[in-house]
Amino acid sequence: MKNRSLALICTLLLLLSLTGCRKGTDGSMTIAEQYGLAYAPVQVMRVLGLIEKRVPDAQVNWDQVGNTAAIREAMIAGHVDIGFGAIPPFLIGYEHGMSWRISSGVSQAPVGLITTDSEINTIADLGSKDTIALPQPGSIQHMLLSMEAQKLLGTADALDSNILTMSHPDGYQALISNSITAHFTSPPYIFREQGLAGARMILSGEEAFGAPFTFIVGYATEEFHEKEPELYEAFTSALQEAIDLITEDPTEAAALLADVYELEPSVIEAYLREEGMIFSSEILGMEHFGSFMYEQGYLEDIPVARELLVWE
């Protein structure tokens, strides 16, 4: 009996210790893959094998992860080394003690609030019955909406009770079927929605923010950055090559991406050439996001200096 309970306790301990198990240095890396046009350099990097080109024996795994919260969790669990997303969810993770930093900017992109309701011209026209779909609270879309709410309505959380969380494709469907009033979305949905009859953009991300800002950045865990310097280096330079390729030759990039997005190359190319689609490793707007989120209580402390948030 005693032996049995001892065995039971040991098994439990073993199981629990496994959850904290992290990958060692074995020349492999796992990147969380995301769809959406703003992630185009990530897809180009994957399709062309740009990391493998630099480190031929590297084993690069691509994981499909649903949203930023899931990417964070996968990175905490040690299953993912590199992820992509917006600055606000990164800052939330950093504040809660995640050992990760931004490695590079990926893109700026037109984001905005689209409505099909002809009566609504600014967010001040939204009533208590109106609903706004966006990916999740704490997302960049939520922060941009809060910034505008603070400017126009006096309080940042004025519209929080109007928000519904929906993925971009669900939000698109909901806008078409008129079951929501407005959708805060990003490319390519923002382009498609603006093409709908009666649909208009009543707020752009840049208006809300007051300046251009980086929409998607890439983040890497400290563990990966420390233990796999060669792979990390290969990743950043591969990402830069992909960014350059899309900027210099959108036609070729579109041809590469056609299979990934299951769209005609001409459509992708038109999207890539849209005004406001800028692929760049620059990181813009981090300080402003940080101070706004701190002032509004989304972060408890003002974020630390940029040098501590970005790898070298």
Partner: protein
């Protein structure tokens, strides 16, 4: 009689050792606090939100949805069951409908429900009714058909009409079936509400417990997430092990001889 207190002591000891193990693992520092926060942090998160009132509001919203849905769903089920008792032709229709709808998890219907009712509380309410209605129909039908013929004959001797028989004989003798149905309905609808709220919910006033946990997740408040789970466990225990057990005991006493 001797066994019960012993079991209770055993249960308490088990819970205590789980908690102890938890704290031990946390204190080793092997597991990140973002995965396994200390019990004190979880308790603090729980108390903070309870005192602040947000958590009570969330619990209230979820329970109101479930209980509202259970009352309405039971009523619909009763109507369907009475109708099928009175009209055998309709009975087969209800039977077909039930066997189609019963196995469908509410959460799988959600995308469709959004198309019908839009997003928000009404859609979640619909999912709850769906979760309640079909098990209740099945149990009412089982209850009605299990009624002893002798009771029906006695009822007829009292010169009850169709309705009289339903009200004075059928329904009272199906109490235990109804309670069993409610138990299933509770389990299904409670799970449905929490998961529906996690798929989409409203920030602010009308979000329930599922929304609470989801919100803790996106803002990376791991202790808060565990606090939400703790509340789920407590509510589940209170309702399933205390409330339903009491009701069942009562029903057994009141019509123990009826079947």
């Amino acid at each position: 009689m001797n066994k019960r207190p012993r079991r209770t002591i055993e249960h308490v000891l088990w819970i205590a050792s789980f908690l102890l193990l938890w704290e031990l693992i946390v204190s080793t520092g092997f597991v990140s606090e973002l995965i396994l926060p200390s019990l004190l942090d979880i308790l603090r998160a729980l108390v903070d939100d309870l005192v602040g009132g947000t958590l009570l509001l969330r619990i209230g919203v979820s329970l109101a949805l479930v209980f509202g849905g259970m009352i309405l769903g039971t009523l619909f089920a009763l109507i369907l069951s009475i109708v099928s008792y009175l009209f055998p032709l309709l009975a087969s229709g209800v039977e077909v409908l039930t066997s189609i709808a019963h196995p469908l998890p509410g959460i799988a219907l959600l995308p469709l429900v959004i198309l019908w009712f839009g997003t928000g509380t009404l859609s979640i309410f619909f999912i709850v009714i769906h979760a309640v209605l079909w098990p209740m129909v099945i149990n009412f039908n089982a209850g009605f058909s299990s009624v002893n013929r002798t009771f029906l004959d006695i009822g007829r001797n009292y010169e009850y009409g169709r309705w009289g028989l339903i009200i004075h004989v059928l329904i009272p003798s199906s109490w235990s079936y109804m309670v069993a149905g409610l138990r299933i309905a509770w389990a299904r609808s409670w799970r449905a509400v929490i998961s529906a709220e996690m798929v989409f919910g409203v920030i602010g006033l009308y979000g329930g417990l599922g929304w609470y946990i989801f919100n803790k997740r996106v803002f990376m408040d791991t202790s808060g997430m565990y606090a939400g789970l703790l509340v789920l466990i407590i509510i589940g225990l209170v309702i399933e092990d205390i409330l339903f057990k009491r009701i069942e005991r009562r029903v057994k006493h009141s019509n123990g001889g009826a079947q």
